[in-house]
């Protein structure tokens, strides 16, 4: 700012005719050319074209401009383009303002050209007002540690780890469970090709073991995260496994353990002892772990594996320095409530993950036996725990589609037909969403004889027992609501995905979550794996329902983004952060209480004493502090109170 005379160039774009067919661009130029500070004003066919860009650069030199307005499309499209244009002409890129007169004028008001022109004039005037008070800004540069923390050791976390490791970046993986692999390690054949889930995981594990820049902590949780992008200090808590070396008598030791609890690696289909064995071939780590939540310390295991088990092991706190953090904490399957479609009331009502676990274990040839009974007729009920409707009470509901379930069910249907001759399948669905290539599985399942019955979401099917069969009663929308009573031996609830229970982690990371409770990206298309917290990326189903292919894609994307952050050795941040005018600040500390990121503290200013101070690397520039300061001493760089006030005043003027 200072005393330098403001010399502004204004460029109004026709956007072919997208703007100029509605907005009278000549009138706009005429209306603003005499505004204070404007030296040159023009309109042109395409400002974003080579010729348009050159026009700006030439004018900057010829007229010694020190600020530029382009009035064109949405800033989401070309703000960056024109910041770069003015920078190429030697101006500070922040001496630029983008007026939106296409999406917010010509397109929105094509029915009212006169008023649209007035609106365009107001928007350009606001841009000029903004620049009257603008100052050159510099990006904030901070150094970066060339290592990355990955929270979650499922396929997404492991894939991201492998990608980063191959780029020469140190990786730390923190997994809460005693073994890495996540959900995929728990299931057998997966679509589309029928490869086993755990095989995919163990392939990744094999690769990771060859790398010397990857450290994996299991039984571990993030304890605290301090610092900012490029410079995080992370502390993790690692629980002991109580196994210090392998024991040869694992079969025996699990038998001698008196504890039997549901086994999480089979979705509770099996029971396990307090000693958790490696759950799949090639599992990492190879050592068993003792689950202290169920262990009663009866010490019977010591009688079998005395030299392997060590109850004196203690928790460890490990401190890490990383430049970026990828959260890949995955999902949990929706657990139906007791009585929901007969779940937990009838033993023959199970969920899809439970069925997959049973199928994984029972290679028992040509008969599907559940609860000691052969299954001849089976019904799938779709969309259980997904696409739920509000019930009027305050129960949490999942309104989203879980995306993987139709496909997984179709694949399972095909497997069942192939494996069990003569099995009859009834697919009781709301809508089938086998998108993309998965449609072929739907077609195949249809051809193999799966019967599809469509239910009304407002009148869902009912499940009850009649003698030794379960009855699924449903009105079929495909046959004009004919009421069907389908006798079956097994009902499989096709359950969706829910976000994992991450309360503690959410307290620590404060990652934004969207509707449904999954972590939220900045933009689904433009910035799909970044969060608004600089340096924090998300991958896999922690972000929302995905199948394994999609999870792997997002993991590679997150890895690439993390690498982009840490590989240069430094990071440049946008300068739009809060700053304090120490002369005005009366140290009310309201801003400190308001800041959600802990970016504001008290600092001694030379000549002013103790005043509020903003750490620019921690500030995200939300501006919440701006609103609460009683004296207007804290403001956002690049959007100061004076700029906003002048914009309000200017746009209120009659056109």
């Amino acid at each position: 700012m200072g005393n330098e005379e403001r010399r502004i160039g204004v460029y109004v774009c026709w956007c072919g005719g997208n703007i100029s067919d509605v907005v009278n661009v000549e009138k706009v130029v005429e209306a603003i050319k005499n505004e204070a500070g404007v030296v040159v004003a023009r309109h042109f066919m395409f400002m974003c074209s080579e010729a348009g860009q050159k026009m700006i650069i030439d004018d900057i030199k010829k007229y010694k401009l020190n600020a530029v307005v382009v009035a064109s499309c949405s800033p989401k499209l070309h703000e960056l383009t024109f910041r770069n244009v003015v920078a190429r002409a030697g101006l500070n890129p922040y001496m630029y303002y983008h007026a939106n007169i296409r999406e917010q004028s010509s397109w929105a008001h094509s029915n009212d050209p006169e008023e649209a022109t007035r609106k365009a004039i107001r928007h350009v005037r606001m841009a000029i007002a903004y620049l009257r008070h603008a100052e050159p800004l510099e990006k904030i540069r901070v150094s970066a540690t060339p290592s990355v923390l990955i929270i979650g050791g499922g396929i997404s976390g492991l894939k991201a780890a492998l990608d980063l490791s191959r780029m020469g970046i140190n990786v730390y993986v923190v997994e809460k469970q005693p073994f890495i692999g996540g959900h995929l390690a728990k299931i057998g054949s997966i679509y589309p090709y029928g490869r086993k889930g755990w095989e995919v995981v163990s392939t990744l594990v094999k690769e990771l073991r060859k790398r010397d820049n990857v450290v994996i902590y299991t039984n571990a949780e993030v304890e605290s995260v301090k610092g900012f992008i490029g410079n995080f200090e992370v502390s993790i808590r690692v629980k002991p496994r109580y196994f210090k070396r392998m024991c040869k008598r694992l079969d025996e030791v699990t038998k001698v353990c008196p504890i039997r609890v549901p086994d999480e690696y089979s979705y509770g289909v099996k029971k396990r002892s307090a000693i958790i064995l490696p759950p799949y071939p090639g599992a990492y780590p190879e050592l068993p772990a003792i689950d202290m939540n169920s262990c009663t310390k009866c010490m019977k295991c010591l009688e079998v594996c005395k030299d392997s088990i060590d109850f004196s092991q203690e928790e460890q706190i490990i401190k890490l320095k990383v430049g970026s953090i990828i959260t890949a904490t995955g999902f949990k399957p929706y657990r139906p409530k007791e009585g929901e479609f007969g779940y937990k009331v009838y033993g023959e009502v199970i969920t899809l993950p439970e069925l997959l676990s049973i199928l994984k274990q029972s290679d028992s040839k040509d008969r599907l036996v559940i609860n000691g009974k052969e299954v001849k007729d089976l019904a799938f009920i779709y969309c259980v725990g997904s696409r739920q409707k509000p019930k009027g009470n305050n129960d949490k509901i999942n309104t989203y589609c879980s995306r993987y379930c139709c496909n997984a069910t179709m694949f399972t249907a095909i497997k069942l037909f192939e494996r069990y001759r003569g099995i009859r399948q009834y697919h009781v669905y709301r809508d089938i969403r086998t998108y993309g290539k998965n449609e072929l599985m739907y077609e195949k399942a249809c051809k193999m004889g799966a019967v599809f019955v469509k239910y009304d979401e407002n009148d869902p099917p009912k499940v009850y027992r009649n003698n030794n069969k379960l009855i699924v009663k449903v009105k079929d929308l495909l046959t004009e609501r004919e009421e069907l009573e389908i006798p079956v031996d097994l009902v499989v609830l096709v359950t969706g995905m829910e976000p994992n229970d991450n309360e503690k982690l959410n307290e620590i990371l404060k990652l934004p979550t969207g509707r449904g409770g999954f972590y939220q990206e900045v933009h689904p298309k433009l910035r799909p794996v970044e969060t608004t917290l600089a340096g924090f990326l998300i991958a896999g189903t922690a972000q929302g329902p995905k199948d394994s292919r999609e999870s792997l894609l997002s993991a590679s994307a997150a890895a690439a983004k993390a690498a982009g952050t840490v590989l240069k050795g430094f990071i440049e941040l946008e300068p739009f952060v809060a700053f304090v005018d120490p002369e005005k600040c009366e140290l009310s500390k309201t801003c400190i209480a308001e800041c959600p990121y802990g970016a504001i503290s008290v600092k001694n200013y030379e000549g002013f004493g103790k005043k509020a101070w903003v750490n620019p690397a921690l500030c995200k520039g939300c501006g919440s502090c701006v609103a609460v300061c009683p004296v207007g001493a804290i403001q956002i760089r690049g959007l100061t109170n004076k700029q906003i006030e002048d914009m309000i005043k200017t746009s209120a003027k009659e056109v």
Partner: protein, 140 residues
Amino acid sequence: MNEGSEFRPKILVFSTNLISDVGIDYAGLLHMHYPATTSIIRLPCSSMIRPEWILFALESGFDGVFVAADGTDCPYLRDCTERTARRIDQALELVKKNGFRPERIKMAAICSVCAEPFSNHMKNFYEMLKKLGPVKKGEI
């Protein structure tokens, strides 16, 4: 101005860079016509709005102020709605104290695809302001 002609209320809209401004753009993309007497100022987050800016807008001649808040989609703050609502509450008090009708202030969450809700809000707000008449200090 506009004397002798129909009263067309002027509305100041505060939008947010990442969410509601995108929704407003979307309304334009779909050519959903809403009153063109609007002016839009984009901010990072609706919780940034100082209540006195809203008062200042009415004093400067705007007939109404519409805050297109982020709601639960806010990428910065989980409790964005509560925070923004607090600003609005303060603004309501402030404008009343200064002799303006509080109905001239409206806040609603506008998501990044909320084209139709935004355009409906604008139309309704416009009609409501039309009934209220031009802004005037001391109107209450």
